[in-house]
């Protein structure tokens, strides 16, 4: 099973990054989604629902932004810890 890291840096790619992450889970892929440098901008119903589906399907969510951990259930990781995770990924998808 391929291990894929979806790395989202820009707010404009937040939703697309989540959709891509969800899609990858359909193909026996281990998905880790990283939201970097910013708090989720538009936590609307669609984003929240898709985030819950990601969790149910076994995807993992990480962020170096404390607010995403406190408000939205992301696992907080420092940039150092994120670097370690990315090193272990088979494929890195910066979006």
């Amino acid at each position: 099973m391929k291990k894929v890291a979806v790395v989202i840096k820009d707010k404009a790619q937040q939703y697309e990054g989540l959709r891509v992450s969800l899609g990858l889970l359909l193909e026996e892929t281990q998905v880790q989604m990283f939201v970097l440098c910013h708090e989720i901008a538009d936590m609307d119903e669609a984003y929240r629902e898709n985030m819950e589906i990601l969790d149910e399907m076994g995807g993992e969510r990480f962020s170096d932004h404390q607010a995403n951990a406190e408000k939205y259930g992301f696992q907080y990781l420092s940039l150092e810890q994120i670097t370690d995770r990315l090193r272990k990924a088979d494929v890195i998808i910066p979006l």
């Binding site: 840096k9 820009d10 970097l36 440098c37 940039l79 670097t83 990315l86 090193r87 088979d90 890195i92 910066p94």
Partner: protein, 57 residues
């Protein structure tokens, strides 16, 4: 393991950190796609001659 970093634009601090810290320098190549006169044939060759390719922002 040979790793190729493809840079689509001038790297921000974050990309520079990742490119420096993710893998040993000896096994890492960097190709700046935003520069003039990119040899795309060479880029295609490099993509397949490296074990891992990361196409940064």
């Amino acid at each position: 393991m040979k790793v190729l970093h493809l840079l689509k634009s001038e790297p921000c601090d974050l990309v520079e950190k990742f490119a420096e810290r993710l893998f040993d320098k000896e096994e890492t190549s960097v190709r700046k796609l935003y520069e003039k006169n990119v040899d795309w044939g060479a880029v295609a060759d490099e993509i397949f001659s490296h074990d891992k390719v990361i196409c940064w922002w």
